[in-house]
């Protein structure tokens, strides 16, 4: 029986999304909280799971590369670092704190019925589409502030094999993880029904990221799809305007799916293309995975309204994240779950931006949102 490549790629994305959404809900794997809590509660507890993720993902990605399993290295759509991109990281950090979750945190909470997360989701779409209005300016700024001669990763810049540098990074991160493990600081006392430890979720997500890289051709990424959804909606009302915007006409994706051999091309515009094929099922899967988890626990509910300030915060946060994910020019999932494990400069600079952003977001949150 012949199964079309389109169906195969869609099914893979959906399955990976289901697993990710389910696991994230069970563990409440909140990447936004990992950085926010550093400043709001002076806690590194959540961040330890991300460090574990990075250590494991580095090993998995590098091992796959050495075995010749990775289709393209670095992966498609990963660009060089720029100072302007760091500003995107700052805005993203502010946005994710105000929204109550990052681009995937919003999805898995939306899947569990959280109303403010629905508002944040809509904000993400709006923000991603708004970016198109000043894309030419920002693109020129990114180009003008590009660093490291356009090299994408640290090993690339130094013309070195990635293996030694990855080994050093893994040794450092692994040492931290080992210390935390020996002192019982990786596990938490769990009270929620069906809860997973954060470290368990980190391990599963590392596997999901690798699977995405091997089977789709790149690690997890979803925010191009937000821009695409925004373009689709805007096209219904302002078709000529959408047609005139260069951002929506761009086609940055061009790679061959390693599993099916199908050529995947596409961009943030309204067309159903390779971006839609990869990311729409992933988004749907994350939401559905969380919904399945919540329903099975009896925790799915739409019936709890939040204070109006929190809806406003979620909306503003979503818009900021949407804008920032194009300016950075990618989201935290792309950078932390994909770029950092291969020592990508742009992801390191995104990290440099998200830290002060999270601090600013925490200040705004406690001053004006939660009273």
């Amino acid at each position: 029986m012949f199964v079309s490549p389109t169906v195969i790629v869609t099914a893979i994305g959906l399955m990976l999304g289901l697993i990710a959404g389910f696991v994230m809900h069970r563990a409440d794997f909140c990447i936004a909280g990992m950085f926010r809590d550093l400043f709001l509660f002076r806690s590194t507890a959540r961040l330890r799971a991300l460090v574990l993720y990075l250590a494991v993902a580095m090993v998995l990605f590098e091992g796959a590369r050495l075995l010749g399993l990775l289709p393209l290295y670095p992966f498609p759509l990963l660009g060089p670092a720029s100072l302007a991109g760091t500003l995107g990281g700052v805005l993203f950090g502010i946005g994710m704190v105000l929204a109550g979750g990052c681009v995937v945190g919003t999805l898995y909470r939306l899947g569990a019925g959280n109303r403010p997360s629905l508002v944040a989701f809509i904000g993400l779409i709006i923000g991603s589409a708004l970016y198109a209005e000043f894309h030419p300016f920002w693109k020129s700024l990114l180009t003008a502030t590009t660093l490291f001669s356009g090299s994408i990763t640290i090993p690339q810049y130094f013309s070195l094999s990635p293996t030694p540098l990855i080994a050093v990074a893994v040794a450092i991160l692994g040492g931290l993880v080992t210390f935390w493990c020996r002192h019982g600081q990786l596990s938490r006392r769990l009270y929620a029904k069906g809860a997973l430890q954060l470290w368990q979720a980190a391990l599963v997500l590392a596997g999901v990221s690798l699977a995405s890289y091997l089977l789709i051709g790149m690690p997890l990424g979803i925010t191009n799809a937000y821009a695409k959804i925004g373009a689709m909606g805007e096209q219904l009302v302002f078709p000529d305007h959408v047609a005139d915007l260069g951002f929506f006409a761009s086609q940055p994706l061009s790679c061959r799916n390693p599993l099916t051999g199908m050529m995947l091309t596409g961009g943030p515009g309204p067309a159903l293309d390779g971006i839609a094929l990869i990311q729409f099922p992933l988004i749907a899967g994350i939401i559905l995975g969380s919904t399945v988890s919540a329903l099975s626990l009896g925790e799915f509910t739409l019936g709890h309204p939040a204070p109006w300030r929190q809806y406003l915060s979620a909306a503003v946060g979503g818009i900021l994240m949407g804008l920032a994910s194009r300016m950075a020019p990618a989201c935290n999932v792309w950078h932390f779950l994909g770029g950092l494990p291969i020592l990508a400069f742009s992801s390191i600079f995104f990290l440099a931006g998200i830290l002060p952003g999270a601090w600013l977001g925490a200040c705004i949150l406690t001053r004006w949102v939660v009273r």
Partner: protein
């Protein structure tokens, strides 16, 4: 020997954005710290935030109070009281 009745103050913080649940809980625990220590009141937080079932008890215990988490129908009830 008889014990005085303990007033329970309920806070419904279901459906709110993260981390408002913990922020509100910390604020109210601090606000009622003296009464909690005397055993005059207990605080009951209703939340749909799964993470707060860990963070609120942990924070309360770090402050010297007792916390009990009970699953309800679609949410959790976290009761904070003086040492019991």
């Amino acid at each position: 020997m008889t014990s005085a009745a303990v007033d329970t103050i309920e806070y419904d913080i279901r459906g709110q954005i993260c981390p408002s649940t913990l922020l509100i809980a910390l604020r109210e625990i601090n606000s009622h710290a003296a009464a909690l220590r005397k055993g005059e009141v207990a605080l009951l937080f209703l939340t749909t935030n799964r993470d707060s079932t860990h963070t609120i008890p942990e924070s309360a215990q770090n402050m010297g109070f007792c916390a009990v988490v009970a699953p309800r129908d679609g949410y959790y009830a976290i009761r904070v009281s003086g040492n019991e």
